[in-house]
Symmetry: C2
Subunit: 188 residues, 2 copies
DNA sequence: TCCAGTTTTCTAGCACCGCTAGGATTGCTA
DNA sequence: TAGCAATCCTAGCGGTGCTAGAAAACTGGA
């Protein structure tokens, strides 16, 4: 029965190759360039094979990539936890900066990922927890959940507007410092 | 020569109808539903007519719609100027709430619109000016430009994350109030 | 009024997209 | 080795943005 095991392993490996190919292609040429035909060519199989792995089609592949992103973001934030609000904020921005297409898949596209619900995947809650962890100590009398949401929104807004060249490139560092100053200080 | 004038007027009117049809369709069914074929059917002309008005194709039509949006946003912010930071913040969110597709065209899609550059259209600078106007008085020693950019980013982040159901619906008002509290108060 | 000439508009088509039905091929089992 | 089951691919559907070239409409002069 080891042959069966090998076949199962091959299948999961191929599924992983699909997601990896999608991520690389998206990072190199944007998600518009990630077509099922090009993905099929990259993994050297025909198009329908993609649908045997991801019945949801392209959206499901993007969602799978996004899930990987949440896991990576969660560990990046956890590693920066000692740095407090400033450290986590920097880690968050650096993540979005290093993997812009992945960040888009996680937060801008792929709107069918269940956020803030019962069936929200653990890695997503974990990533969000990385923000809560550093905000909670400085929340004071304020609701930590609301404060975290706003802190997160500020970071997300900075990233998305900056990417679209909506903000002056010269003030990048200043902006981040300002967000940290307004949210990292203990409120009265 | 009045005939020539009439023809010019008809042409501009038809161009306006294209943008209006695109906006209505986008607001009703999303920008994905705005196809050149459906637009052509709505204005009761054939597809290539669209390209005689907007050589850039669909992107140019979206950009034209976005420009209208900036004009409307600018006047909405100007009208709320007396309300200070809180009033302008509320007006901004209400605008994004009332015309979500238009807001997307302005800030999420249509990335070829020239932001923060020399050839930035006046209406875009005007809309941004509506934010600066209320932030400047409370900037204190802080750089008003940077503070405005961060204030704007926070609002934008709130809106986009909220739209994707990334934030808990119950705390909408609280979040906005918190942004205003952190950015509307005069800094030391 | 009729006829060039110009402008405007439409028909038809290209290459591509996501996705899928049904047949061919492969590998496993007995 | 024969039959079965799982796997995979070919071919195609309806749709997309966009465009070349034919057709139609409008123009101004005889």
């Amino acid at each position: 029965m080891t042959q069966r095991q090998r076949r199962v392993r091959d299948r999961t490996e191929r599924g992983q190759r699909i997601v990896s190919a999608a991520r690389e292609l998206a990072e190199a040429e944007g998600w518009d360039a990630v077509t099922t035909r090009r993905l099929a060519a990259l993994i050297e199989y025909s198009q329908p094979v993609l649908y045997s792995h991801f019945p949801g089609g392209k959206d499901a592949i993007m969602a799978a990539a996004a899930l990987e992103g949440f896991a990576e973001l969660a560990s990046a934030l956890a590693a920066a936890r000692d740095g407090g609000v400033a450290g986590v904020a920097r880690a968050y921005v650096e993540f979005a900066d290093a993997k812009p297409a992945l960040y888009d898949a996680m937060f801008t596209l792929a709107s069918e990922l269940p956020f803030a619900q019962d069936d929200t995947p653990a890695v997503m809650q974990e990533a969000y927890g990385g923000l809560v962890a550093v905000i909670e100590p400085v929340a004071g009398t304020q609701d930590a959940g609301v404060l975290t949401e706003v802190f997160w929104s500020a970071l997300h807004g900075l990233i998305t507007l900056d990417r679209g060249h909506r903000l002056s490139p010269a003030h990048r560092a200043e902006r981040l410092a300002l967000v940290v100053a307004r949210f990292g200080a203990r409120a009265e």
